[in-house]
Symmetry: C2
Subunit: 421 residues, 2 copies
């Protein structure tokens, strides 16, 4: 008999994030995984990064000690310079905090801003890990539908108003992945970025502008961050080294007004005291040596080729009319609509066929945690094109094709069933 | 005008942890700091650790990728072996989770077990960082006084009963630093460890047995962990590499029943997805090369000498009757009672004199967050003996002596005031 733990109400309502299940699947022998949003390990700058291990020797006594909660100063300074340039205003260290991955930025924002029952406005579909973090402080979600230009910001006032009338108070936060969104791949158009911040400021609802894919553009023109249109007021800008260098370092950062950064730092003290100085120092050294910008050029080429490979394979392999999508201009994902299908059923058949993707429904909150109108994501599938090799991209799309060709008899093993195809 | 953020109720009630203030003070020129609980950077195994940077090259593709939330498997296996030996039962990976520092273990436990208003039973005095984390989920505290053998476990049933009658429900957790406690330096006696778990099991209140200083014993005999007496049931055992290797790696771990570990893992997913694989791999390699046990012998000698230096300096320098203490047998701290003084006033004068310590009151919750009887810690001071050099330990005790000799006229600059002494 287990010890009779009395779990917290929030823990009782928590379910494992689907990301967990996906990690397990990507390990199965022979599986081609488009499921996790993982960078390609083949493109990690292993040699250059390992060489930065010099700092563990040259600055060992500082690097191995506790660090400031705000971040390792040399890295803070590097990021302040980059952010000053990107955001078009002087970003001093009082406006920046380093976090143990973007997930921790969300968690800090959640703890500082959200009480149980508070509403977060998110675009639908959105990143399942963001739902997990906000859910874990008891948040509910109000959803803004998306189109090819990202969040339908024209609908935002109506969504905010409806959440206010249904819950008796204004939402506390708007969350948006503004460039090559996870999962939709869509980027918020320049005019919508301006409008997003205008609406949020009009209502006094801050925006968490999550932008980890910004530098992974393979085509088209970059839009200014929303933070820039707003001069930062009411915007928390977040980004990360996970997609542009390596997720295994778990180094991300947030930029916001000093009053908010101070609160986030206090919250972070109770979370992990500080992000590991070891990883911050390695990342700082990597940047100091000028590797990052060179690496960015390299991965943009690498991922552009993979995106093209998946676009071509999907067009060539999938049965006519089985899926609709727009080719992404950057980021990590294709977002497929599978007309007339339930992606979860397609997923089960795909696993048997040896290919994995993320069923769309994981990118939407459930009905019980949604304020206002829900969005049905059951017909969608997220395919990550960065992780699998180019050969696997082609073979994986062939497997997807076999699944989609078989009509709706998913999960039924006929005489010529999955095991033999 | 700042953006009108509406902070969460918990954020509104949060204050910076005193640790923050202390980090700032240790940076001031000429300051001798006994304040922060920092290891001695001079004893960090910089060469050996930096040489482990080889794994960044040899296993770069795995080390730079996302990792499992439970932990990097090679490190999990190393810790399972160590814990199996220490805890006297087979500890498989389903019973262990790696965390980004012990602070995150507390945060995971807090999120999984505590609702706002729930009570945590803690020994008084206790680690200010633990108060900060539990406070940040809205916990209140019921206090068990300590003596030279640690928590007065004989009083625990009464404290639990009283908290139940005052709050209408049982406490959710008992928190104790069982070996060389922070701040008191006291270790829970073997019989009390058994009794602690018996009481906690009788009431169904789990124990978080925080044991980061266990291997830093300079005299006397080690007691078995409470986890061992309980065969683990209802005990969360936590430890860390911060004190035995380096805090800058931010690698800690918790051992508990699988049902609880699973919940903690789900909570951790929303916190940082996983502890940096980079630091876990470096620590695993450091252990694999057999450095840890050799290093432990070295730091035990090193810190034993420093503990002896502080014991001698305090006895030699402090005015007779100005302070009472027991020499610690391990860990990081002296805990001084300053009869008739307010440690905060002594602290202010000490800062002017160029020596810093941790005023005792930071190690107790405030009256408004205490359930049942409070404990007055205002006459106590925590002095860390590990961080300062041996010369600074002597000079710091001389400065303490000057402050304590000056009677109660603290903060008043007379003609021969602080600046000249």
């Amino acid at each position: 008999v287990d010890f009779p733990y009395r779990f917290s109400r929030l823990a009782e309502s928590m379910r494992p994030s689907p990301i967990r299940e996906l990690f397990a699947m990507t390990q199965r022998a022979g599986m081609i995984s488009f499921a996790g949003g993982l960078p390609d390990p083949a493109i990690f700058p292993v040699d250059e990064f390992a060489a930065c291990g010099d700092v563990l020797l040259s600055q060992g006594q500082s690097v191995l000690q506790y660090g400031a909660t705000e971040g390792w100063r040399p890295l803070v300074d590097i990021l302040c310079r980059r952010m000053t340039e990107l955001l078009g205003q002087e970003i001093g260290p009082e406006r920046l905090v380093i976090a143990t991955g973007s997930q921790q930025v969300m968690d800090m924002a959640a703890r500082v801003l959200l009480d149980p029952g508070d509403t977060v406005v998110a675009e639908a579909p959105t990143y399942p890990g963001a739902l997990h973090t906000f859910r874990s402080v008891g948040a509910r979600f109000a959803l803004v539908p998306c189109d090819a230009e990202g969040m339908r910001v024209d609908l935002l006032p109506e969504v905010i108003e409806r959440a206010r009338s249904e819950t008796g108070r204004l939402p506390k936060l708007v969350y948006s992945i503004v460039s090559f969104s996870n999962p939709s791949g869509a980027s918020l158009s320049p005019s919508r970025r301006v409008e997003l911040v205008e609406v949020a400021r009009r209502y006094g609802v801050p925006v968490l502008e999550d932008d980890p894919y910004r530098e992974l553009r393979y085509a088209g023109e970059a839009a200014q961050p929303a933070f820039r249109s707003a001069s930062g007021e009411g915007v928390i800008f977040a980004s990360s080294f996970s997609k542009i260098l390596a997720p295994g370092v778990r180094v991300a950062w947030a930029v916001a007004e000093p009053s908010l950064i101070r609160r986030m730092v206090i919250a972070k003290q109770g979370m992990d005291l500080c992000t590991p100085v070891v990883t911050q120092a390695l990342v700082a050294e990597y940047c100091r040596r000028g590797h990052l910008d060179r690496h960015l050029e390299k991965i943009r080429d690498h991922y552009a080729a993979k995106a093209a490979a998946m676009a071509a394979a999907l067009r060539r392999e999938l049965p006519l009319g089985a899926a609709k999508w727009s080719d992404p201009e950057g980021g990590f994902f294709f977002w497929l609509q599978l007309p007339g299908r339930k992606a979860r059923e397609v997923f089960d058949a795909a696993i048997e066929e040896g290919v994995a993707f993320l069923p769309g429904e994981t990118c939407y909150p459930g009905p019980s945690e949604t304020v206002g109108e829900g969005v049905d994501g059951r017909a969608f599938a997220r395919l990550c094109f960065t992780f699998a090799s180019s050969d696997d991209i082609v073979e994986g799309c062939r497997r997807m094709s076999r699944v989609l060709t078989r009509g709706s008899a998913f999960g039924v093993r006929g005489p010529g069933g999955a095991g033999e195809s």
